[in-house]
Symmetry: C2
Subunit: 556 residues, 2 copies
C-alpha cells in the first residue's frame, strides 16, 4: 500500500478539525487508548469528563454552539452510557459524532467473549442505528475514508448525531491513497424553488398581519443573519419557540417573545394565532413548542419550511433546501410594513436590594434578568429551570441552551463545559434543579480541571418540583443536600447559600467579580413555588397522567 | 369487561412481588407517575436514586443477591440512561426487569412529537431488544397478563434482563379476567440426562485428579448448596473464576482459590491445568475468566455445563437443564477421594498497627483481609479495586459482587444500595477508585436517604490507574478531589483521609463501630502502585492496544 496515505485515525482527526472541531469529550478505556494517544499529538484537545454521560451532554452543547461536537469513548461500557445523550442530540437536531473504540477486527475472529462485549460484536452498532442518522464500523482501511466522509456529511446535512466505531487494530493502518475528499452540496431544484418562493411571497405580501415563528433549525443551520435581515427589511415581527429561544437578540423592537400556545404569554399567543400568514422557519411541531397542544395554528395559513419539508398553505414542495428558501425570502421584494415596536419590559438595571423576603422563582428571574449581559450564555436544565428561564431576556443570538423538547435531566452542568470551551468569551450562567444536580453535578470536577468559570445556580426546592405540580407523592422528595459545600469536595470554586433577595444580589455581584473558578449559588426555594409557565403546563400534563381509580381487587 | 380482574399495573406488581422482589429502583417522570403512585400503595418499596444509572446498577446488584431486580423509569430520558447497566446485566447474566413508562396508546395516534420521544414511538423498545432477552410493549390490556408472564419467565429462565414498556393509559385498565397464570418448568429429557450423567460420572471416577471450576451461573441459579454437597461427598476440590468468586466460603479446606490462567496465582493455575477432568459448572469463557486467554484448558478433558449448553469431552448434549445435571452429579455415586486440604494463609486477626509506612495496595488488601467477617459483602468497582479484591478471603457464599466481565465503571456505590436493601443483615464494604467514584459517587445521597451504612473505601490514585499500566498519557489523570469531604456535602456520614497503615487501621476500627450512617475512607495511593494481578493483566492488555508508529504524513 502506498506509504503516503494517512492512517485511518489521522484522517478522522483531520476531517473533524477541518469541520471546526477543537475539542473531543470522553473517557479513555483500553479499546480506545491508541486513538486517545493519537489525539494527544494532534490538533484536537481531549476533555476527560467525570462520567461518559457528562461527555455526551458537553458534546451536544458544543455542537449547538460551534456546529459539530465529538464524543470519544470506549466500547459498550463507554458507548452505551451516551445512548441517552445521543438520543437527545437526535431529537433536538444537534450534530454530534460518537466515536467508539472497539475490539480489533483480528480479535473478533472465532467470536470470543472479550470484556465489555454484550451479546454480539455488533450489538453496540445496532443500538446506535436507532438513535443516529448514519453509522459505520471502520472495519477496512481501504473503505474507511469514504465511510468517514459519508457519516460526517450526514451529520452536517441533517444536524443529527452519527456513530463511528473504530476497531483498535485499524486506527494506525493507512487508508486508500487514491481517495479524494469531495464536498457534497445538495442544491434545490431551481424551478421548484422559484415556484415556491413566488407562492410564499404572494401570500406574505397579501397578508394583513404576517409573523415569523423561528425555531431550532435557524440555530442549527446558522441562519440567524438571514432571519435578521428578513425581519429588518420587511418589518415582519419575529416570535421564537422555546426550543428556538435566543434565535435573535430579544432586545430587538420587532421581537415578540416566546410563543408556546396557551402556555406562554397571552399577548404573544393572541398575536401569533390571529396572524393570517405565519412564516415558520425550521419549526418542529413538538408538544412543548406547541404548548402541550394548546397552540391553534391553521396550517392552511402557514408557510412551513424545515430541512426536511416545505409546505405553503396546503401545497407541499419537494427538493427545496431550507437555506435556499430562507435566503430567497431574504432577498425577495417583500412589502415593507410599518415598523413594529413591541413594548417590552426592559430588564431593570442590576441594583442592590436589601429585601429579606424569602426568594421566589419570580424574584429570582427578575434579578437574573437584570444581571444578564451580552457575555452570558444561559444554560438551563430540565424542569422549572427551563420554564422560568423562558422569561429571561437573552441579549444576542445563541445565548440560550436547553433541552426544551427531549427534556433530559442532567444536561446543564456538562453543557456549560461544552459551551464555554466552544466559545470561551461567553460565561455560562447555569440554572439547575436539585434533582438534575444529583445526576451530573460531579462534572464540576471537569469544570475545575479545565479552568472554566460558570456561575451555577442550584434551585433547591427539595425534590422534583415539576412533578409535584403534575402528580404529588413521596417519590418526588429528595435528600436535603448541602450543594453549597461543593467547593470543599472539589478543592476550588466559590459558593453562596442564599434564601433572600438581598443575599442573591450579593452572591451574583460577587460571582461576577470572581472569575477564576466556578461559582455555585445554592438558592433555597419553597418546595411548592413555581413559575407561572410551569403552573400552566403542569395543569395540562396532569390531565395525561393516568390516575388510579379505586379498584375492587386487592393487591396481593 | 369483568370487573374482578386486576389492572395491568396491579398484575405486574403482584407478579414481581411473588417472585421475591421487595424494592424497585428508579426516578419518576411524567410518563410513569401513575405507576409510581400505584407502587406507593403496594408491597414494593420505591427507591429513588440520584441518577437512573444508579438505579440500574442497584437493581443489578439486587438481582444478584436476591434473584430478581427491578428498575422503573420514564420514557427515553430515563430508559436510555440504563442502556449500559442493562447491557451489564445481560453480559453477566443478572435478571433485571426494566419497566419504562411511555406515552399512552391514545396519545400515539397521528404520531405527534411528544416530549422525550427520539425518533419513533418504538425507538426505545428497539434499542432494548438488543440488550435484553425478551421485551414487550403492554399495548393491549387483553394480552398484557400473558405478556408480563412471558417476559418474566424469560428473565428467570435465562437470568438475563427483560424490558416491559407500560403506556400510561394502560396502567389502570383491567386485564383479561379469564387468564390463568401457569408456572412453566422446563424439564430435561430424561434419557439424555441419564446418558450424559453416566458419561460424566465415568470420566470423573476414572480421573486421577478431577477439579471443579465454578462460575457465575452457580450464583444465578442458586446452586451453591448443591456445589457444596458435591464437593463434600466426593472430596473433589473447587476453584472459582473471578466472576464466580465467593461461590463457596473461601475458608473451606477443599477450596483452591480463584483460577484465572496465568494471571492468577501460579499454584492454582498449575493445579487446574494439570487436572485430567475439569468439571466446569456454569462457566463462561470470557477473556477475564480465562486470564486474558492465558488459560490452558483442554476441552476434551472438561465437563462443561451451563444453562445454555452441556458438553462432556467432545460430546455435546441437548435438552439437559443445568440444575438437573448438577443435582444429578450431587446424588451420583462418585468415588470418594482423600480429603483435600489446601494450605491457605488464613487472614491474620484484625490487629492494631503503628506503621507510618505510606499505604500500598498490598498492605491495604492485607488489612482488609483481616477486617472482613461473615457479615460483610464485598463490592468492588472496575479497575484495580477488582484485581486486588480477588485476593480477599470471602467468608461465605455470594459475598462478593463485581462486574468482572463486562467491567463497567461506576458499579460499586449504587450496587451497595441494591445489595444492602436485598439482604439488610450484610454490611457492604465497597472498593472504588477515584475515577469510578466520579461517575456515581453522588448516590451516597441515596445511601443517606435510605439509612444504609456501607463502608466505602475510595482508592485515590489520582487517575485511571489500570490504564496507566496499559498505556500512559495525560488523559489518565484526574482532578485531585477531596473525597473525604463528602459528608459535608451530604450532611451525614463519617469520613477519614488516610495515607498510612496505622491510619487505615484506626479508620476501619472506627467505621466498624459507626453503624448509623455511611463511612467513607479515602485512601491515598501512589499513582503507579498496583496489585500483582493488575501488573500481570496490564502487560497482556497493553499488547492489544494498537500503538502509534511513526507516520510519514503530518496531521493537518
Amino acid at each position: 500500500m502506498d506509504s503516503k496515505a494517512p492512517t485511518v485515525g489521522e484522517y478522522l482527526i483531520s476531517r473533524l478539525h477541518k469541520l471546526g472541531v477543537g475539542h473531543v469529550f470522553g473517557i479513555p478505556g483500553d479499546y480506545v487508548l491508541g486513538f486517545y494517544d493519537l489525539l494527544a499529538s494532534g490538533p484536537l484537545k481531549t476533555i476527560v469528563t467525570a462520567d461518559e454521560q457528562g461527555a455526551g451532554f458537553a458534546a451536544d452543547a458544543y455542537a449547538r454552539m460551534r456546529g459539530l461536537g465529538v464524543v470519544c469513548v470506549t466500547y459498550c461500557v463507554g458507548g452505551l452510557k451516551v445512548a441517552n445523550t445521543t438520543a437527545e442530540a437526535f431529537a433536538e437536531k444537534s450534530p454530534v459524532v460518537i466515536i467508539s473504540g472497539a475490539p480489533g477486527m483480528k480479535e473478533r475472529e472465532r467470536n470470543p467473549l472479550l470484556h465489555h462485549k454484550v451479546r454480539d460484536f455488533d450489538t453496540q452498532k445496532r443500538v446506535f442505528e436507532h438513535i443516529t442518522i448514519a453509522s459505520t464500523v471502520l472495519s477496512d482501511p481501504q473503505t474507511a475514508f469514504q465511510e468517514i466522509d459519508r457519516v460526517l456529511h450526514a451529520a452536517m446535512r441533517f444536524k443529527r448525531p452519527v456513530y463511528i466505531e473504530l476497531p483498535r487494530d485499524i486506527v494506525f493502518q493507512r487508508g486508500n491513497n487514491f481517495y479524494q475528499h469531495r464536498e457534497i452540496h445538495e442544491a434545490s431544484d431551481p424551478v421548484i424553488l422559484r415556484t415556491a418562493l413566488a407562492d410564499a411571497i404572494a401570500r406574505i405580501n397579501a397578508a394583513r398581519k404576517p409573523v415569523i415563528l423561528a425555531d431550532v433549525e435557524v440555530h442549527r443551520f446558522g441562519l440567524q443573519r438571514e432571519l435578521l435581515a428578513l425581519a429588518r427589511r420587511s418589518n415582519i415581527p419575529v416570535a421564537a419557540t422555546i426550543l428556538g429561544k435566543s434565535v435573535v437578540s430579544e432586545l430587538h423592537p420587532f421581537y415578540l417573545g416566546v410563543y408556546e400556545g396557551a402556555m406562554g404569554r397571552e399577548s404573544i399567543r393572541r398575536y401569533v394565532e390571529s396572524s393570517d400568514c405565519v412564516i415558520m422557519l425550521g419549526f418542529f411541531m413538538t408538544d412543548l413548542n406547541l404548548g402541550v397542544y394548546t397552540a391553534r395554528l391553521d396550517l392552511g395559513r402557514c408557510i412551513n419550511v424545515t430541512s426536511e419539508k416545505l409546505s405553503i398553505g396546503h401545497h407541499n414542495y419537494e427538493d427545496v433546501r431550507l437555506k435556499d428558501f430562507v435566503r430567497g425570502l431574504m432577498n425577495a421584494r417583500l412589502r415593507r410594513r410599518a415598523a413594529p415596536s413591541f413594548k417590552k419590559l426592559k430588564p431593570a438595571p442590576f441594583r442592590a436590594t436589601r429585601s429579606t423576603r424569602p426568594l421566589t422563582i419570580r424574584a429570582l428571574i427578575r434579578q437574573l434578568d437584570s444581571f444578564l449581559d451580552k457575555h452570558t450564555v444561559v444554560i438551563s436544565d430540565t424542569g422549572d429551570s427551563l420554564f422560568s428561564a423562558a422569561d429571561l431576556t437573552i441579549h444576542r443570538g445563541t445565548e440560550f441552551l436547553a433541552t426544551a423538547y427531549y427534556a433530559s435531566m442532567g444536561f446543564a452542568i456538562p453543557a456549560a463545559i461544552g459551551a464555554q470551551l466552544a466559545i470561551p468569551s461567553r460565561r455560562p450562567l447555569v440554572l439547575v434543579g436539585d434533582g438534575a444536580f444529583l445526576m451530573t453535578g460531579l462534572e464540576l470536577a471537569t469544570v475545575a480541571r479545565n479552568g472554566l468559570n460558570p456561575i451555577v445556580l442550584v434551585l433547591n426546592n427539595s425534590g422534583y418540583g415539576t412533578e409535584r405540580h403534575i402528580h404529588e407523592g413521596a417519590f418526588n422528595d429528595l435528600w436535603p443536600m448541602r450543594f453549597h459545600r461543593m467547593p470543599e469536595l472539589i478543592g476550588t470554586g466559590r459558593s453562596w447559600n442564599v434564601t433572600t433577595e438581598a443575599q442573591l444580589y450579593t452572591a451574583l455581584k460577587e460571582a461576577r467579580q470572581h472569575k477564576k473558578s466556578f461559582c455555585l449559588i445554592e438558592v433555597k426555594l419553597d418546595k411548592l413555588d413555581c413559575s407561572p409557565a410551569l403552573a400552566r403546563l403542569a395543569k395540562r400534563l396532569a390531565e395525561r397522567v393516568s390516575t388510579p381509580r379505586k379498584s375492587s381487587t386487592k393487591m396481593k
